[in-house]
Symmetry: C2
Subunit: 431 residues, 2 copies
C-alpha cells in the first residue's frame, strides 16, 4: 500500500505512476491462443475434446459434453432456501433494472418527406463464459444471462469448464434461474473458439460475453469481429472517497471487498483527514487477518492499495477522473453534489449505506463494468450488448426530388458515378 | 458474377459458398502493424515522422504537422456553392437523425427504497481517421464527425494522410463544416498509434473511428481496449430484392454503386423473375462501360456479383438474413410487409425511390455500417459510440435492510467474506 499526500511536492509524479501502473499482465498467451483457435477451426469437436482432456483433465465423451437442464434443476432444488431466494431476488432486480435499458424504435417522416427510422432487435444467439473452479460465481451467471434474456435472445448458450468433470452446483442453479438454454462443459480459449466459429456439435453464437482468465480474455479479443464481445476486461478496482464521519471499519471492508478478488485488484481511498486515513489503514490490517481470503487480500492491498490524502474532497474529483475507476463510492453526506464532478466511472455508489458489494449481487445494475481506466469510453454490460440496430429509410419521388440532387453533387465530387447515376436516373423519371 | 436459382438441386451448397466466401483479405500485416505501434509508443513523434516520410513521402517538419482551421476555412470558401450547400444539407440532416439517438438518463427509486440510475456522458475526446488519396470522401468526414459532435465530444481530432503533403480540399471543407477541432497530417497505423497512445505533440484520444485500409483496420483492432473503436470493417456490400416492376437500369445502377467502391465489394440481386434478371445483367454490362470507375466496378461485379432467382420474393428473406448485408434495398410495392421478415441488415432502403446512394450522403442515417455478416450482432455508427454510461446506486439504511441480507448470503456462498462484511457491518448498525 502506498500513501500519498496531494499537498506534497512530489505528488504529481507519484500519482501519475499510480494512474499508469499496468496491473494487467501482458502474458505471452497470444500465440498459444491463436494456435488453439486455429485447431478448433480446423478440427472442431476433436480439438475441443483434446484441449479439455489436457487442460481440464476429463474426457468429454465420458463426462458428457453438455450439462442437461435436469442437472441444473436438481442443483436448484438442492439449494438452501435462503440462498435460492437470494438468487431469485437478484434475478428479479437485475431484470427490472435492465428492462429499462431496452431501446425504443423510431420511425418518423421529416419536412422533406423522408421517412427515417431505427429498429432494434436482439441477436439470435449469445454465449456466456462462466469460469470454473475457485472463481465460479453464480452472480456472474445472472449478470450476463439476465440482460441477454431481457434483450430477447432466443438461444442463450453457456460454456463453463468443469475441472476433472466437476460442475459448481451454484452456477448450475443460477443458470436455471436465469433461463440459460444450453450448457457445454468446456472452457478456456477452446470454448471461446467453439462458440465463435461453431463445431460439429456446437452451433456458433453471435455474441460472446463473460469473465475469464488471460487465455479467455485473449481469445475473446481474437474472435472480436467474428462475433460481438462485451469488452476487454482487466483486474477489478474500487475507489472510495470518504470523509472522517465514516466508520473506518465500514470503509476498510469496502476496500477489502475489492482486494479479496485477486492479487491484481486495486483499492484506493481518497480522504481529507489524515487521522481517518490512519484509522482505515489500521482497520484493514485488523480485518484482513479474519478473512478466509486473507492471502489474496493482503497481496492485493500491499501491492496495489493506496490511500491519498487531499486538502478537501472536491480536490479528489479530478484525480478520480484520471483513474476512471470501475467502482466509485462517494461516502459523504451529499454525494449528489459531487457526482456531477465525476466524469468517468463504471458505477457510482452514493452515500454511506451503499457498499459496492450490494451492487455486485442484488441491487440491479450490472456488475460487469469497464476496468483499467476504460470508463473513459466504455460502459457496463447492458441489453444493448445483446441487440443490434437496423437503420431504415423510405423516400418517394417527391422526397427524392428534395434531397437527391445534393446526393448527386456529392457523389460526383467524390468520383463515384454509379452512386450519382442511381439517384439521377430516378430524378430524371420524376422530372 | 454468378447466377443461382433457388430451385436448382445444388442451390444450398452454392449459396453456402456465397455466404461463406471470405472477401476480407487476411494479409500478413499484423506483425508490421505491431512493430509500427510499438515504435510510436517508444519514440513518439520521431517514429510518426519517420513513418510519414517513408509511407507518405513528406517531412512533417517541412509540410507541417497540423492542418490549421484557416486552411479548412479557405477550402470551404473555395467550394463551388452547390457543393457547399450539399455538404451543409448533409451535415444538417445527419445531425438531425443522430440527435434522436441521444440516450436518456434514468434516476428512479423502487419499492425497496433503492435509488437506481444511469447517466450518459460524451467521451472527452475522439479521433476520426480519414483516408487520403483516391478514397478521400468528405461524406465519411461528416458521417464520423457529426455524431461525435452531437454526442458532445469536446475535442474532436482528425488524422488524415496527405500523400506528398497534398490534402484533399473537399475533406478539409467537410471537417470545417462538421466542427472538427484539430487535424493532423498523418495516416496509416502510425496515426492510429499516435492518437491511441499519445505522443509529445499529440494528446491521446478516448475513441477512434473511421475507415481505412488493411493496416489501419488492423491497427484499430490492436489498440481496441486502450481506446474504444467503432468496429472491425470489411469490404462494402449491397443486396437488392427487386421484382419485375422495377426499371432494370435503376437496379443496375444501384448494384454498380456498390461495385464501384472496391474490387472486393459485393452486389447481389434477388429477384423472382428470370427475364428481369437478364435485363438487369444486360443493363449492368451496358452501364459499366460508361463509368469512370469501370475497372473497379467490372472487377468487383465479375468476382463478387451475384443474381439469385427465387420462386417468390418472400423466399429471399431467409437467404438475405444469412447474408446479413450492410445495405439492403427492398425495391417492391409494399416493403413494409417484407421488412419484419428481415432480421439482420445494417441499413434497409424501402421502396423503389430509395436508392442506397441517397443514404450514403444526405438522408441522415449513418453510412458507417457493419459489413461481412456482422449485422447479425453489430450496428451502424451512432452517438452511442462516442458516449459511455455510468450506472449509479443509492441506498439508505432501510433500503439496505431490505436487500442487503441477500447480498450477504450470496457473498458468503461465493466465498468472498469481505464482500459480505461490507454489507453486514452496515446492517448490524441499522439493527
Amino acid at each position: 500500500m502506498i500513501r500519498l499526500n496531494a499537498s506534497d511536492p512530489g505528488f504529481g509524479h507519484a500519482f501519475n505512476e499510480l494512474v499508469n501502473a499496468r496491473r494487467e499482465a501482458e502474458p505471452q498467451v497470444a500465440r498459444d491462443v491463436r494456435m488453439i483457435i486455429e485447431a478448433v477451426r480446423q478440427d472442431g469437436d476433436n480439438a475441443v475434446q483434446a484441449f479439455t482432456d489436457k487442460f481440464d483433465g476429463h474426457d468429454l465423451d465420458a463426462s458428457g459434453w453438455r450439462i442437461e437442464q435436469a442437472e441444473c434443476e436438481a442443483a436448484l432444488d438442492g439449494l438452501e432456501p435462503g440462498l435460492r431466494a437470494a438468487l431469485e431476488l437478484a434475478r428479479d432486480r437485475i431484470a427490472a433494472y435492465h428492462e429499462k435499458q431496452c431501446p425504443a424504435d423510431s420511425d418518423d417522416t421529416d419536412d422533406a418527406g423522408v421517412r427515417l427510422g431505427a429498429r432494434w432487435r436482439a441477436v439470435d444467439s449469445a454465449g456466456i463464459y462462466v469460469p470454473g473452479g475457485r472463481a465460479a460465481y453464480p452472480s456472474s451467471v445472472l449478470m450476463n444471462a439476465v440482460p441477454a434474456k431481457v434483450a430477447g435472445v432466443r438461444r442463450l448458450v453457456m460454456v463453463t469448464p468443469t475441472p476433472k468433470g466437476e460442475a459448481n452446483p451454484l452456477v448450475l442453479a443460477a443458470a436455471r434461474i436465469a433461463g440459460v438454454d444450453e450448457i457445454w462443459r468446456i472452457g478456456g480459449a477452446q470454448a471461446i473458439a467453439a462458440i465463435a466459429y461453431g463445431t460439429e456439435r456446437i452451433d456458433a453464437v453471435d455474441v460472446v460475453t463473460g469473465p475469464g482468465n488471460a487465455w479467455v480474455a485473449e481469445a475473446k479479443r481474437q474472435v472480436y469481429g467474428v462475433v460481438g464481445i462485451d469488452m476487454v476486461a482487466g483486474p477489478s478496482e474500487i475507489v472510495v472517497v470518504a470523509d472522517a464521519k465514516n466508520d473506518p471499519d465500514w470503509i476498510a471492508a469496502d476496500l477489502l471487498s475489492q482486494s479479496e478478488h485477486d492479487p491484481t485488484s486495486q483499492s484506493i481511498l481518497f480522504t481529507d483527514d489524515a487521522a481517518f486515513a490512519d484509522a482505515v489503514s489500521a482497520a484493514i490490517d485488523l480485518q484482513i487477518g479474519t478473512l478466509a481470503t486473507k492471502d489474496v487480500a493482503r497481496a492485493s492491498w500491499d501491492a496495489n492499495g493506496a490511500i491519498v490524502l487531499v486538502p478537501d474532497l472536491a480536490a479528489a474529483c479530478p484525480l478520480v477522473n484520471r483513474l476512471a475507476p470501475e467502482h466509485l463510492e462517494l461516502a459523504i453526506d451529499d454525494p449528489d453534489q459531487m457526482f456531477p464532478l465525476i466524469h468517468h466511472a463504471g458505477s457510482v455508489f452514493l452515500g454511506r449505506h451503499t457498499p459496492e458489494a450490494v451492487g455486485d449481487y442484488v441491487a440491479g445494475p450490472n456488475h460487469v463494468l469497464p476496468t483499467g481506466r476504460r470508463a473513459r469510453f466504455a460502459s457496463g454490460l447492458s441489453v444493448l450488448d445483446f441487440m443490434k440496430r437496423t437503420s431504415f429509410l423510405a423516400l418517394d419521388g417527391e422526397a427524392l426530388a428534395a434531397i437527391g440532387p445534393a446526393a448527386v453533387a456529392l457523389a460526383e465530387a467524390e468520383g463515384l458515378p454509379a452512386h450519382a447515376k442511381s439517384v439521377a436516373l430516378r430524378l430524371a423519371r420524376a422530372g
